[in-house]
């Protein structure tokens, strides 16, 4: 069966996420990061940040809400029961700090089929309240038995 590809190039409405201090602490603690720039405002300011700074991989917290409508879009038509997260990439620019409002847009970059598997590539672009990019993500989702 041919895989649906009409969603290639489709973009979904942006989502907004405001970064909170305790959310940064919760994430940093789970991953075992004890650098005070994630936990203490004065330490973060001394290191040149506006406020406590999010760890790089906190990018999944502020950008994944934008992925939900993309993944559930019938135009994409993914079979969730057979889906695995195959790969992930982030590139970081401006640091994301407590109080920042991050706007993320998701786009379908490619859908292809190889050896009976569907490869779904999405891109997220996250910018802060000043319009500066904080992170760009590439999400590879693999569906077996397409």
């Amino acid at each position: 069966m041919a895989i649906k590809t009409e969603a290639i190039g489709k973009e979904w409405p942006a989502t907004k996420y405001e970064i909170g201090r305790e959310k940064i602490r919760e994430y940093a603690t789970v991953v075992g990061l004890d650098n005070p720039v994630h936990l203490d405002r004065e330490a973060a300011k001394a290191a040149g940040y506006r406020d406590v700074v999010a760890p790089p991989m906190f990018a999944v917290v502020y950008s994944s809400p934008a992925m939900a409508p993309a993944m559930f879009d019938p135009d994409v038509g993914m079979n969730f029961a057979a889906m695995v997260h195959g790969g992930q990439e982030f590139e970081w620019d401006e640091p994301a700090c407590c109080g920042d409002e991050i706007t993320t847009t998701a786009k379908c970059r490619d859908i292809s089929e190889k050896d009976g598997k569907g490869f779904y590539l999405f891109e997220t672009d996250s910018v802060n309240q000043n319009g500066d990019r904080v992170a760009r993500g590439t999400w590879t989702l693999i569906v077996r038995g397409v």
Binding site: G86, Q88, P95
Partner: protein
């Protein structure tokens, strides 16, 4: 970090996530997929038990790579991973890697996260500002 050379091993990171780590990671990240927190659900879909979030293990890879750049979060510029094996709670994770190349004060690292022989993250490539 001034004496880093291509081919050097990066400091190893070893972490043993406890039984409830996936619950705390779910809360921290917002990813409540039941395969990570509900043993009955996990078994019903053919898994041996609940599995770790791949993005949690990517978080550990990011931590190890950031440490190579001195620990400041601005040091990590790019991280790309492939999720392969499934990770289990209550089993030690070892994050290991080598310096693939150096370009001025930028290092490209090749990193793996594994539980014993099971490589849960492979071909991870990190770009770090030294």
């Amino acid at each position: 970090m001034g004496d880093l050379n291509a081919g050097d091993a990066i400091p190893e990171l070893r972490v043993t996530p406890d039984k409830y780590l996936p619950h705390r990671y779910a809360g921290a990240s917002g990813d409540f997929n039941p395969i990570h927190i509900d043993p009955e659900f996990a078994k019903a879909v053919g898994l041996p038990n609940t599995i770790l979030h791949g993005l949690y293990m990517m978080g550990l890879v990011a931590r190890a790579a950031t440490d190579v750049g001195g620990g400041d979060p601005r040091a990590l510029k790019r991280l790309s991973v492939q999720f392969r094996g499934m990770g289990a709670p209550e089993t030690e994770i070892a994050v290991t890697g080598t310096v693939k190349s150096l370009d001025g004060d930028r290092a490209t690292l090749d990193v793996v996260a594994a539980q014993g022989e099971n490589q849960t993250i492979r071909n991870a490539e990190a770009e770090v500002q030294l």
